[in-house]
């Protein structure tokens, strides 16, 4: 299957139909030496991972030259771009090559072992675990999604609910001065302006969590389901855009626009002058995505996170919890081609989850991600230990 998928990709390129670059042509990773000592050290440390903390020995990659490739989610890509040189500076024998291609590509290339680490905004479906034996989705951080708008004359944050947004994206609410929007925003003078709903034209983890939010918070109004691509109801004047960057640019150009944009583009949405909505959570509060509301929403899911960590974090019951958040996942196969590759992947992922290293504010703040709660780090560590 994996071979034929790659062949198909090659053919699509050859046919000129066009396709983003597929797997990198970097040599098979794990060229380095696998000395007996490092191997035994790894197996010893791998079995002694303790909850909530990462023993220092786990952070040691193999001593030989190792190239790790990463591809997938464009939301995680900037974080990997920041991690790669920092990790290389700490361990000059390890080179990490990140690519932003899309979550689906990250999952399928990790499964096909054409890359070492895939990245996905969406958790793996149950069928993936039966289809690809030994596949893991390992949370690395917590992301959130903003609801942005371009409504001239509105200062401060508009309050919106899942139901109102679902009605906008189904064409039942078409104007910013609609009574339903006014009712949520007493005292705000809403302009008579047609709403232009904007959605992603490409398959996207952002579409996945946005439509999950609509499905969970407004089941009566949103029936198109949730996925990385959905059949958007036909709304007059609706627009589509490619990537979060395209969403910011198009929304900034379009008066009346409403859009869903990843939190890592927060500085761009601010610079473009877009408004940022306060969303109604399940408890009824209106909240902005910030450290407190994301952390409080995530806290409600800690106990529910299963051992394989496949879980939607959308629209939880926590008070003052921002309702659209998600785990950002690394997709890894437990069975690796060589012990040194496995050791390098483990060491890098431990490093990425360590609050003194990859999960330090200097990395996460730049993309507005939040670190995992300690007990979820423990679950991730346990999954990482299985990579052999």
């Amino acid at each position: 299957m994996s071979l034929s998928k790659r062949a198909l990709a090659a053919v699509l390129v050859a046919a000129g139909i066009g396709l983003a670059a597929c797997g990198s042509s970097s040599p098979p990773s794990g060229v380095g030496s696998t000395s007996a000592t490092s191997g035994s050290a790894t197996s010893a440390s791998g079995s002694t991972v303790s909850a909530g903390s990462v023993p220092g020995t786990d952070l040691a990659p193999p001593s030989g030259t190792v190239n790790l490739s990463e591809t997938g989610s464009t939301l995680l890509y900037p974080l990997f771009q920041a991690w790669a040189p920092a990790y290389h500076a700490a361990y000059p024998n390890v080179t990490i090559t990140p690519q932003g291609t899309g979550s689906g590509t990250g999952i399928s290339q990790a499964e096909a072992a054409t890359i070492d680490v895939g990245a996905s905004d969406a958790y793996l479906p149950p069928s993936a675990f039966t289809q690809y034996a030994g596949i893991e989705n390992i949370p690395l951080a917590i992301s959130a999604q903003q609801i942005n708008y371009n409504v001239p004359g509105i200062h401060g944050h508009l309050k919106l609910s899942g139901q109102v947004i679902a009605k906008i994206y189904t064409g039942k609410i078409t104007n910013w001065d609609d009574p339903a929007i006014k009712a949520l925003n007493p005292g705000v003078s809403m302009p008579n302006l047609t709403i232009v709903p904007l959605h992603r034209s490409d398959g996207s983890g952002d579409t996945f969590i946005f439509t999950t939010y609509l499905t969970d918070s407004a089941p009566a109004d949103w029936t198109a389901g949730f996925n990385t691509t959905v059949s958007w109801p036909s709304v007059a004047g609706a627009l589509s855009a490619e990537g979060n960057g395209g969403m910011v640019t198009t929304c900034a150009k379009t008066r009346g626009c409403i859009a869903y944009i990843g939190i890592s583009y927060h500085s761009q949405t601010q610079a473009a002058g877009l408004g940022e909505a306060m969303l109604q959570d399940k408890a009824g509060d209106f909240v902005l995505p910030d450290m407190a509301t994301i952390t409080s929403e995530a806290a409600g899911f800690i106990a529910k996170t299963p051992a394989n960590e496949s879980l939607s974090l959308v629209y939880g019951p926590a008070a003052n919890g921002y309702p659209i958040i998600n785990y950002e996942y690394a997709i890894v196969m437990t069975k690796q081609s060589s012990a040194s590759t496995a050791q390098a992947i483990r060491a890098f992922l431990y490093w990425a989850l360590d609050k003194a290293h990859g999960s330090a504010p200097r990395f996460l703040d730049a993309v507005h991600f939040q670190p995992l709660p300690p007990s979820v780090v423990a679950l991730s560590d346990a999954q990482i230990a299985k990579i052999q």
Binding site: V11, G18, S103, G104, I107, G237, A238
Partner: protein, 324 residues
């Protein structure tokens, strides 16, 4: 040496056969399960990819998965047809102007611009279409067109809401801009190749410049213009990025008006391949391969039709002997 050149000449043929064979192999499960319905409705529904994978007629797929290429194929053909209608007259007039009317140095300058236009990456033209010309047309020009068009069958296709710039007409216009250089530069070279004698003959008979251009030059290069248009059409049918940015990428339903958002087969494949990879059964990728196969067949059909047309035009339309 002859054997080598002969062998090399076979490569394009083998490449095409290889592409079709691999697409066919990939698309096979989708062809089995989608059946004839693939061509009679419009849908891109991954199904419940978070539910169980079910097995129908030996093909594994998520519950509720449904794919139909009709609207995408219509969008492909309609947007390319609009591009052709807009680009061919402009290109022919431009070619005649460059080679017959403009001073040589000016002709070279215009030719330079045409060459540069041909070299602009399609993603740049797409950006221009999505952020500048699309909204401008939708807010300033389309409403006029929609207002003028009568509400009678066929022409009512030109009425209705004009949206915000993404749709069939914008796609056609952007594609038209992209194929003008191809059609115009090919036509210009053809016009250059018309011998002096028949043209001078026309002038000797008292024809004006315009009459010579229309009755001698254009007649002479007629089959070539058809060929140039087929080249442009093939480019428009397969264009991907620019259309993905200005079409609206509406994956279900067919456009009710010329202003409505659409998608094309190429734009659907490039925008949805990543989503298709999330379907662990592989059925979504297979269905996209089937759509790719449809696009290859449309392009082949256009090429064959173009060749037949060139032959017809060439055998009937030449006013003067070829061997002048």
């Amino acid at each position: 040496m002859q054997r080598v050149t002969g062998g090399v000449a076979v490569i394009p043929m083998l490449a095409l056969l290889f592409i079709i064979a691999v697409l066919l192999a990939q698309a096979w499960p989708a062809i089995l399960l989608n059946g004839g319905g693939f061509f009679t409705h419009t849908s891109f529904d991954l199904g419940n990819t978070y539910g169980a994978i079910v097995n129908t007629h030996g093909v594994r797929h998520p519950q509720g998965a449904s794919y139909g290429v009709l609207g995408w194929a219509l969008g492909t053909v309609e947007s390319s047809a609009i591009a052709l209608v807009l680009a061919v007259p402009v290109s022919v007039f431009a070619a005649l102007a460059i080679s017959e009317r403009l001073p040589a140095y000016l002709g070279r300058v215009v030719g330079l611009f045409l060459g540069t236009l041909a070299g602009i990456p399609s993603v740049i033209i797409g950006l221009w279409g999505a952020l500048t010309i699309g909204p401008l047309l939708a807010h300033r020009v389309y409403p006029l067109l929609a207002h003028l068009a009568p509400k009678v069958p066929v022409l009512s296709f030109f009425t209705g809401g004009t949206g915000n710039g993404q749709g069939l007409l914008t796609s056609g216009i952007v594609l038209g801009v992209m194929i003008i250089p191809i059609v115009a530069s090919t036509t210009r070279d053809l016009v250059h190749s018309v011998p002096k004698l028949p043209k001078e003959g026309g002038e000797a008979l008292g024809m004006t410049d315009w009459e010579v251009a229309r009755r001698v030059t254009l007649r002479w290069v007629g089959p070539g213009i058809v060929g140039a248009s087929v080249l442009g059409l093939a480019r428009a049918l397969g264009e991907t990025m620019a259309v993905a940015m200005v079409s609206g990428v509406v994956l279900s339903g067919s456009p009710g008006s010329i202003f409505a958002p659409i998608t094309t087969i190429a734009a659907t494949i490039v925008t949805q391949l990543d989503s298709a990879f999330t379907d662990t059964s592989g059925f979504a990728v297979s269905s996209l391969a089937e759509a790719g196969l449809v696009l290859v067949l449309i392009t082949l059909a256009v090429n064959v039709a173009g060749r037949l047309l060139v032959r017809r035009v060439a055998s009937t339309a030449l006013p003067v002997g070829r061997g002048v």
